[in-house]
């Protein structure tokens, strides 16, 4: 049995894969498609026939995405750049935040009697990775809660790219300052030698392992190629 709505959803997702069409562009094309289908059905065409004829008249996915690419080029470029900047800031922020926490953990361990610089180093690195994972998942769930709040998407759409970037920058600055606030118990001015060594280990492991993890994530997140209906 031919399910018109299902076919339209498939057609939409195919257009979305081209990445040059925004969701509002696709909404507009869908509205057109449905109108055409209805007028064809008045001519006694079946659902399937009407769908096929109207998608043909609308033009194939590859050509549509080419045409939209021409007008959306500037927009896409700005979008990509703002994603890149957000990514770099997030990376720096994650480094600042987790480094501060792992430093606290190392000092806490040193104060409670662990002296070997190797074991302190592992504690530092372990706590850094754990902090990263915890904040990642916590951040993910909090963001999901915020996004699912009704009316949020509308508010976001009203923001310009500049406003979005400014918000990210503001969050970044506040968090960086918070990470650097000296807490007398955890962040003393004079640090013991073995703690300094441990922190160097941690820094080394962090700067080597994190890029490797990120590249692996990128490889797995690659978009599938566009295919024709």
């Amino acid at each position: 049995m031919f399910d018109l709505n299902e076919q339209i959803i498939k057609w939409r997702s195919n257009l979305a894969q081209s990445q040059t069409l925004g969701s509002s562009d696709i909404d507009e094309l869908e509205s057109h498609l449905r109108e055409e289908i209805e007028s064809l059905k008045c001519l006694k065409l079946s659902d399937e026939e009407a769908f096929l004829v109207s998608t043909y008249r609308l033009g194939d996915t590859a050509r549509l995405s080419d045409e939209y690419a021409k007008i959306n080029r500037g927009k896409r470029f700005r979008q990509n750049v703002s994603w890149m900047i957000t990514g770099i800031l997030t990376y720096l922020l994650a480094t600042h935040f987790t480094t501060a926490i792992s430093k606290d953990c190392v000092l806490l361990a040193a104060n409670s009697g662990i002296t070997g610089h190797r074991s302190l180093g592992f504690i530092g690195f372990g706590s850094q990775i754990l902090t990263l994972i915890t904040t990642f998942f916590l951040g993910y769930f909090i963001c999901r809660l915020i996004i699912q709040r009704p009316g949020f998407k509308k508010q976001i759409k009203q923001l310009t790219t500049r406003m979005r970037l400014l918000t990210v920058l503001l969050v970044f600055l506040i968090m960086t300052v918070v990470c650097r606030i000296p807490v007398p118990a955890f962040r003393p001015m004079n640090i013991q030698v073995n703690v300094t060594q441990a922190l160097t280990y941690t820094k080394f492991l962090w700067s080597v392992l994190l890029p490797v993890i990120l590249v692996m994530v990128l490889i797995n997140l690659r978009k599938p190629n566009l295919h024709e209906v």
């Binding site: 507009e28 509205s31 057109h32 008249r57 033009g59 549509l64 045409e67």
Partner: protein, 113 residues
């Protein structure tokens, strides 16, 4: 007789602006109107109209708004702006020059003797 692609592309802007100068409208109706007026001889691939509309909107010649129609369907309506009316006037003058030049060439040349 189908009109060539280049000619269709060149006339897209004045066509859209002219139709919108008669009142706000949405994509599907604009295409239908062009088809009617040209007796089906000007055929757009339907999807190609929308990039044209978006380009005009980016140039601030027209503006758009999502609205629900009487039938409850959501449609994006386009409306011409002041700047658009100005550009339409210019384009009208340009097309008139092209048309009158061609017409003079195609009409029988007057006898020289």
């Amino acid at each position: 007789m189908a009109i060539s692609k280049d000619l269709v592309a060149a006339s897209a802007t004045p066509l859209v602006l002219s139709i919108l100068s008669k009142g706000e409208n949405y994509g599907y109706a604009i295409i239908k109107r062009v088809r009617e007026l040209s007796n089906g001889q000007m055929q757009w691939t339907d999807g190609m109209l929308y990039p044209v509309l978006h380009r005009l909107e980016e140039q601030k010649l027209i503006q758009s708004k999502w609205r629900e129609s009487e039938t409850g369907r959501k449609r994006k309506y386009y409306k011409i702006k002041k700047e658009g009316t100005k550009v339409l006037k210019e384009q009208q003058n340009q097309w008139k020059v092209v048309y009158s030049t061609l017409r003079q060439l195609w009409e029988k040349e007057p006898c020289l003797i």
